[in-house]
């Protein structure tokens, strides 16, 4: 197991290096010189040369990449052109909001998608299967940003039930400890703020989680259908184990592997989906930071955010890989 983990980490390093190279090349290949774009039209040639020197743009590409890589390894992704703050600090400040949103979305998707999939798979062609398959199709076909807009229109606009933008009411809640608003206020014991935070997170989380919910439902269903044919299910039923117990103890546990795989794979979609959903709901996460960086052509901030997202995705996939072994003892790592 340990040697497998080490081997996987070693295998990930070249991928991460190549990712950083690719992201770096994107900036290089982009038309126009950042120095030209950022300085005003009145900047003289000396101003531009000066700026190029200051940002290191006058050096050969491989030197620039080397410097970029060494700095990045030391946790320095450069300085934002626009805000003149370190990119890393800006991203770290915004990251908890994105993680909070992603976690709640996944929870919603799991709570609705998995049971629905299990019931649908256990009783194919029943009414619950039809409901499930509708939810599945709905989930995978719904563009999350439109669903978000419609939620705002109906839930916030028409029924006036939940807030439509931001993360909390201004002035509510104690000082941040972890950066996770809801968690922080649970620690503070400020239940009003917790309630406030939850009311703000519901709509974006539903908009973001619907897609994964649909996919989870479909995967769970087919996975349960498959496991139902296995010998051990027949044995359990022949022994007289109750159907509910067979289903939730024997079948679901064995159907878990594809479900976890899908959660892992779909986390990428969820991450990039969060970029759009955050924009729709003005959620102050790293996704909306990326979009505002793009609008203001803040290249270091764009590269930094893209790298962070991708790195997060690589790490998540790595963890999922390791998780397999603990869930399914049949998987052996030492081959």
């Amino acid at each position: 197991m340990l040697s497998y983990i080490v081997r996987r980490i070693l295998g990930t390093i070249p991928v991460i290096l190549l990712i950083s190279l690719l992201v770096f090349m994107l900036v290089q290949a982009a038309p126009g010189d950042p120095a030209d774009l950022l300085l005003s039209d009145e900047a003289t040639k000396e101003d531009i040369d000066d700026a190029r020197k200051r940002w290191g743009l006058d050096q050969p590409i491989h030197v620039q990449y080397g410097k970029f890589l060494i700095a990045a390894l030391q946790g320095d992704l450069g300085t934002s052109f626009r805000y003149t703050d370190p990119v890393v600090t800006m991203i770290v400040d915004r990251l908890p909001a994105t993680i909070e949103l992603a976690v709640v979305s996944i929870l919603i998707a799991l709570i609705v998608g998995v049971p629905l999939g299990v019931w649908a798979g256990a009783r194919p062609n029943s009414w619950i299967d039809n409901v499930g398959s509708f939810v599945g199709f709905f989930g995978i076909s719904m563009p999350n940003f439109w669903f978000g807009i419609m939620l705002i229109l109906v839930v916030s606009g028409y029924f006036n039930l939940l807030p439509s933008a931001g993360r909390s009411t201004y002035g509510v809640g104690g000082p941040p400890i972890t950066g996770f608003f809801i968690l922080d206020n649970i620690i503070h014991g400020d239940w009003n703020a917790v309630r406030d935070g939850i009311s703000y997170i519901i709509l974006p989380a539903v908009a973001l989680g619907t897609n994964m919910m649909g996919i989870l439902m479909r995967v769970t269903r087919s996975s349960v259908l498959e496991v139902m044919h296995e010998d051990f299910v027949r044995t359990a039923r022949a022994k007289g184990v109750r159907d509910t117990v067979v289903l939730w103890r024997h079948v679901v546990r064995n159907a878990l592997i594809p479900i976890i795989t899908v959660v892992g794979l779909e986390l990428g979609t969820l991450l990039s989906g969060s970029i759009i959903v955050e924009t729709v709901f003005s959620w102050p996460g790293s996704g909306s930071l990326l979009i505002s960086a793009i609008t203001s052509r803040d290249y270091p901030l764009i590269t930094g955010t893209v790298l962070t997202y991708t790195l997060a995705f690589v790490i998540i996939n790595f963890i999922i890989d390791i998780l397999y072994g603990t869930i399914d003892p049949r998987i052996r790592f030492d081959k």
Binding site: P14, V15, L18, I19, L22, V23, L26, V27, A29, A30, P31, G121, A122, R123, P124, N125, S126, F137, F138, I140, S141, M142, P143, F145, W146, I149, M150, I152, L153, G157, S222, L225, E226, M228, H229, D243, V246, L247, L267, G268, T269, L271, S272, G273, I275, I276, T279, V280, L290, I291, I294, T295, I302, V306, Y309, T310, F313, V314, N317
Partner: protein
């Protein structure tokens, strides 16, 4: 006796015996067509197919169907609510008085053209690389697999967003940005299939007859990949439509002058508090289009791969 009299009744009988249709020789033509069509007549395929067919129809005949110029502004008529049949603007107008219905109709065209182009290019690249990688194995396979690994390491859409952010808005760059990750599913399936096919007897047989690698790939490996490619392509079409709409919604899609569903939604979000119709109709179009395509893909997968829809024994 002249040659023209040759196809005698006898001769005809001889040919029908060899014919595959001799199993049902008396079946009228219509019944035969119905028999070949039957597996396709599943609700999912019919429904999904109808949606896709309507979309293609609307896309092709957009200039004929659309009641107004999609870019024709009329500020006096701005933000007019849907008039249904009582007013000239069936689905209302947007913030500069452009007819929503006409923009949706033209938007269908753009969505379809972009999605179809992306799917075809991705398919060609993915299947090509996959077939090569699976068939030759060794170092080529290793290189292609590394490329897949790196490109696939990016969260979907993020790479497209980054490309659009750095290279600016144009149709060509949009297509490149959408293809960049979409060829990978084809490549994986094609690679796996090619790997298993290369050891099969018919490939050995072809090789012993002196067939070249190119010939074996194009004549024996590729035809076996068509069904899988059709299913992947259908689903890729759905994701491409959503991705294009997402990018346009973020203002990173095609140039603003071209009406697309995504950019219409971006306007709709701005005017959400006053004019619901701006955001409702383009979104509905995306939703139903993607739903239809997904159903079609699902139905086709059931059809091509019966293993996936084993009827369960059920419980209770």
């Amino acid at each position: 006796m002249t040659n023209s009299a040759l196809p005698t009744p006898d001769a005809q009988n001889v040919t029908t015996i060899d014919d595959a249709q001799s199993v049902m020789p008396d079946l009228p033509r219509r019944a035969r067509i119905l028999k070949t069509l039957r597996p396709w007549l599943k609700p999912k395929i019919v429904l999904g197919g109808t949606v896709v067919f309507m979309l293609v129809f609307i896309g092709i005949f957009a200039p004929v169907i659309a009641p107004y110029d999609p870019n024709g502004q009329n500020l006096i008529n701005a933000l007019r609510a849907p008039g249904w049949f009582s007013e000239p603007h069936f689905l209302g107008t947007d913030h500069v008085g452009r007819d929503i219905l006409s923009r949706i109709i033209y938007g269908a065209r753009i969505s379809l053209v972009i999605a179809a182009t992306v799917v075809v290019i991705s398919g060609v690249i993915g299947i090509g690389l996959g077939a090569i990688s699976g068939f030759f194995a060794g170092r080529t396979d290793f290189l292609i697999q590394k490329l897949v690994e790196v490109v696939w390491a990016f969260p979907p859409l993020l790479l497209a967003i980054a490309i659009m952010a750095f290279f600016g808005q144009s149709l060509l760059i949009l297509i490149v940005a959408l293809v960049v990750q979409r060829w990978i599913p084809y490549c994986r399936v094609a690679g796996g299939q090619a790997l298993s096919l290369r050891t099969r007897d018919f490939v050995d047989a072809a090789r012993s007859l002196g067939a070249s690698n190119t010939r074996i790939i194009t004549r024996h490996v590729l035809p076996n990949l068509i069904q899988a490619a059709m299913v992947i392509g259908t689903f890729a079409m759905a994701t491409a439509i959503i991705a294009e709409a997402s990018l346009s919604f973020l203002g990173l899609g095609v140039p603003p002058a071209i009406p697309t569903w995504g950019s219409m939604l971006a306007d709709g979000r701005t005017y959400i508090s006053t004019s619901w119709w701006l955001a409702l109709f383009p979104g509905l179009c995306i939703f139903f289009t993607v739903l239809g395509i997904n159903m079609l893909g699902d139905g086709m997968r059931d059809l091509f791969d019966p293993r996936l829809k084993r009827p369960g024994q059920g419980m209770g």
